[in-house]
């Protein structure tokens, strides 16, 4: 049987699968909804940056002097401009504790009794920030924001004091109080944002998911309902069947990948810096690197249910260990080691380089080679297994 025939037959099987798919309205709706949910979900459940808004914070002013109240006034003025906090008053530390336990507030600020007297006597005025230990992500953010704000307020006060006490100009006072200033500059325009980080990974992941869940489903389902026998009894190569299924699932995955791409650009302000053709090539390469695994699982699972279970078990670790949602560098060394054996890691890295940093093929060629390697090795194992499984 010629290669041309294998491809022609697989084309018809792909046509059949897609036609079947397009006939189900619910499946079509899900095709669009799934990437939408995915994008909205990961976009909003993970904190994007270090800003907070309208976060309830309790404020305790125990200061007996006047500096405490002027600090509060200053904080309120800043807060009115930024809208970071929803400031509420509280009695003391224990009051804050109760309110934190009741989940009424996310943190607290305490100005101690001797705040004014300490400053007046030439010491530093201490301000305590109370954090919620049950919510590490939030407390980190609050801690950072409040520290930064209070420090800025302190500098502001220092500059004002220098200006009024020693009659130095505001500019000189500023350069004396804060001699260093920092400016962040990316290699491509725009602020770093979480969507920008996560979109390439999600595209790679969704394409992988479509293939990994769709392929075993498509084959074992047809085995279960008996239609696979019709194809096996026809004079076609077994490879045509799997190739046709792969093509159909790839089209499905690509459609979802593109929906994410469009959503990311239109709704979440993601900018694709690199060549879009390179992006498509990388997505197709991702498919190629996974196909073998999908076929392998299809070959040794007899029932649809088993296939789905095996897929889920493999897919979840891959999703979380491949740096789709969290940077690999944050993980302990052994986890990073595992990630090195997952093709999704390389797909995500390469896509991210191209989409976010505008890299060209020379920057990702090593990822490309590794993905090709994964694809070839997995297929070399999977195809003979599949041929054997189909002629039991």
């Amino acid at each position: 049987m010629s290669v041309k025939n294998v491809i022609r037959h697989s084309g018809w099987i792909c046509w059949k699968d897609l036609l079947e798919f397009s006939r189900s309205k619910l499946r079509l709706i899900m095709l669009v909804l799934m990437p939408l949910f995915m994008m909205v979900m990961v976009g909003f459940i993970f904190p994007s940056g270090s800003t907070i808004s309208d976060t309830p914070i309790a404020l305790v002013n125990n200061d007996t002097g006047t500096l405490g109240s002027s600090f509060v006034t200053q904080l309120e003025t800043i807060n009115n401009q930024t809208g970071m906090m929803d400031l509420r008053s509280a009695q003391d530390f224990n009051d804050i504790k109760t309110k934190l336990q009741n989940n009424d507030i996310n943190g607290g600020i305490i100005i101690p009794e001797n705040f004014s007297s300490d400053i007046r006597s030439g010491k530093q005025g201490l301000i305590t920030i109370v954090i919620d230990q049950s919510n590490p992500q939030m407390s980190l953010t609050i801690q950072a924001v409040l520290t930064k704000t209070i420090e800025a307020m302190g500098k502001q006060t220092a500059i004002y004091n220098m200006n009024s006490t020693f009659h130095v100009s505001i500019a000189t006072a500023t350069s004396m109080v804060t001699p260093y200033t920092v400016e962040s500059k990316g290699i491509v325009p725009g602020e770093p944002n979480y969507f920008q980080f996560v979109a390439p990974g999600i595209i790679a992941m969704v394409v992988m998911m479509a293939l990994m869940t769709g392929l075993p489903h498509a084959i074992s389902y047809e085995k279960d309902i008996g239609t696979l026998d019709g194809m096996l009894a026809a004079p076609i190569n077994r490879l045509s069947i799997i190739l046709g299924k792969v093509m159909a699932q790839t089209v499905r995955g690509m459609i979802q990948g593109f929906i994410i791409l469009i959503l990311a650009v239109v709704l979440f302000g993601v900018v694709i810096e690199g060549n879009i053709l390179l992006v498509i090539f990388l997505i197709l390469l991702t498919v190629f690197s996974f196909v073998g695994l999908g076929i392998l699982i299809t070959s040794f699972t007899d029932k649809e249910e088993t296939a789905t279970m095996v897929m889920m078990t493999l897919m979840f670790p891959m999703m979380f260990l491949s740096g789709v949602f969290f940077p690999l560098q944050q993980m302990p060394w052994y986890m990073q080691g595992i990630a090195k054996f997952l093709p999704l890691t390389y797909a995500t890295t390469a896509l991210r380089k191209v989409m976010v940093l505008g890299a060209d093929i020379t920057a990702v060629w090593s990822d490309v080679l590794i993905l090709v390697g994964f694809g070839i090795i997995l297929l070399a194992i999977a195809v003979p297994m599949f041929q054997r499984a189909m002629s039991k």
Partner: protein, 398 residues
């Protein structure tokens, strides 16, 4: 108009040039691939002459099975089966569920590899020439081979394409097949809008899309209502008569086998226990003591049935209606025993009729006690535990 570059001249088929659209006739052996030149635009192209190639065997057998055996683990689903199916006949494989009928069909369709032995289908070996075999067969399996979301026409088109039928021929074939089962009006409706009977008609013609020499019908009337069952049986006859297709039919319904098949192989526990025409099979028991009585009792009561059933000479008993019993017996004294028993129970016997032997009698005779004993004799050399769904019935008969 078109010059062709081959000497084989058996059939002429029309092909449309993909470049200029000129239709030309090309001559070649069915199934042959040719490189042809279109005279109108001079472009070269490759075509495949449609239709089945001539089978290699010339001895008039569509299928020859030799010592076919299939083990599932230790369990022999098919146990040393040999038989031939003649070209153009409807051959029946009759047996209870789990007897091995479907496994034989699956091996003949190249879907399952035999553990031992082989078979030739349309002159090709099912193991070495599986690809060739597949070109000449059509399969109607127990489960329908159709996609519910697709229309009847789309289903036929898909499978036609898998057999490399060129578009024009395929469209013609699809229309012919649809009108063959009077489903033209439903051609573009989805399968999931059809009744089971309609589905099965499409399922059968789907297996005919490649004009197979041999058609396998594996329990084609299973789960159909009486009307659809009759339709499918009629269709089976018409396919055989009008297309000359050799048909292997598996069934567990005696009547179906008797009504359709020229020859019947009775299969039980993976073995062929008898193979002949229905008439000859019935002759098998004419010399034996298997007799079926139809008994009419005016005051039929459950306790009478129980009493008759408990007689050793009674092999089976069916109550046909409130006053009629159908009793299958062995032994010369069976009639006397039944009448005595019924008298004791004060039954008013209105009529007793000795019925002609039916295929059902043959089947019970062969797969019942005597056949069992023969089987156990054969198996004393290898003490292999026998299991399978057929066993339960055998026990009851004992």
């Amino acid at each position: 108009m078109i010059r062709m570059e081959t000497e084989n001249t058996q059939t002429t088929h029309q092909f449309k040039c993909p470049h200029c659209g000129t239709i030309g006739g090309y001559i070649g052996k069915p199934g042959e691939r040719l490189i042809v030149t279109c005279v109108a635009c001079n472009s070269k192209g490759r075509i495949t002459i449609p239709g089945a190639t001539q089978p290699q065997s010339t001895n008039g057998n569509a299928i020859e099975i030799t010592h076919l055996r299939k083990l599932f683990g230790d369990f022999p689903a098919v146990d040393d089966v040999s038989f031939v199916v003649k070209k153009g006949e409807i051959f029946g494989l009759l047996g209870p569920n789990g007897a091995g009928k479907s496994t034989i069909i699956r091996m003949l369709c190249t879907l399952t590899r035999p553990t031992q032995g082989t078979a030739s289908v349309a002159g090709y070996d099912i193991i070495k020439q599986a690809g060739k075999v597949r070109q000449h067969i059509g399969l109607v399996s127990e489960k329908m081979i159709m996609y519910d979301e697709l229309t009847a026409r789309e289903n036929l088109k898909l499978f036609g394409k898998l057999y490399n039928l060129p578009n024009e021929l395929l469209h013609k074939r699809i229309d012919e097949l649809l009108s063959f089962v009077r489903m033209e009006k439903w051609a573009d409706h989805r399968i999931n809008t059809f009744s089971t009977g309609m589905k099965q008609r499409i399922n059968v013609i789907r297996a005919l899309v490649n004009q197979p020499e041999i058609l396998y019908l594996d329990e084609p009337t299973l789960g159909l209502d009486p009307q659809s069952t009759a339709e499918i049986r009629e269709l089976t006859k018409r396919i055989n008569a009008e297309h000359g297709t050799t048909i292997i039919l598996t069934t567990h319904i005696m009547f179906e086998a008797e009504a359709l098949c020229k020859r019947i192989g009775i299969i039980d526990h993976g073995k062929i226990v008898a193979l002949d025409s229905p008439a000859n099979l019935k002759k098998l028991i004419s010399g034996t003591d298997v007799t079926t009585f139809e008994i009419e009792i005016a005051n039929l009561e459950p306790q009478m049935i129980t009493a008759v059933q408990s007689l050793s000479s009674v092999k089976s008993l069916v109550q046909e209606d409130p006053s009629h019993l159908l009793v299958r017996t062995t032994g010369d004294d069976a009639f006397d025993n039944i009448i005595d028993t019924l008298r004791k129970k004060n039954a008013t016997v209105r009529m007793v009729k000795n019925l002609e032997p039916s295929l059902e009698d043959v089947f019970l005779h062969l797969t019942g006690r005597e056949a069992r004993e023969k089987v156990s004799e054969n198996n004393t050399s290898n003490a292999r535990p026998r299991h399978g769904p057929g066993r339960r019935r055998a026990k009851r008969i004992r």
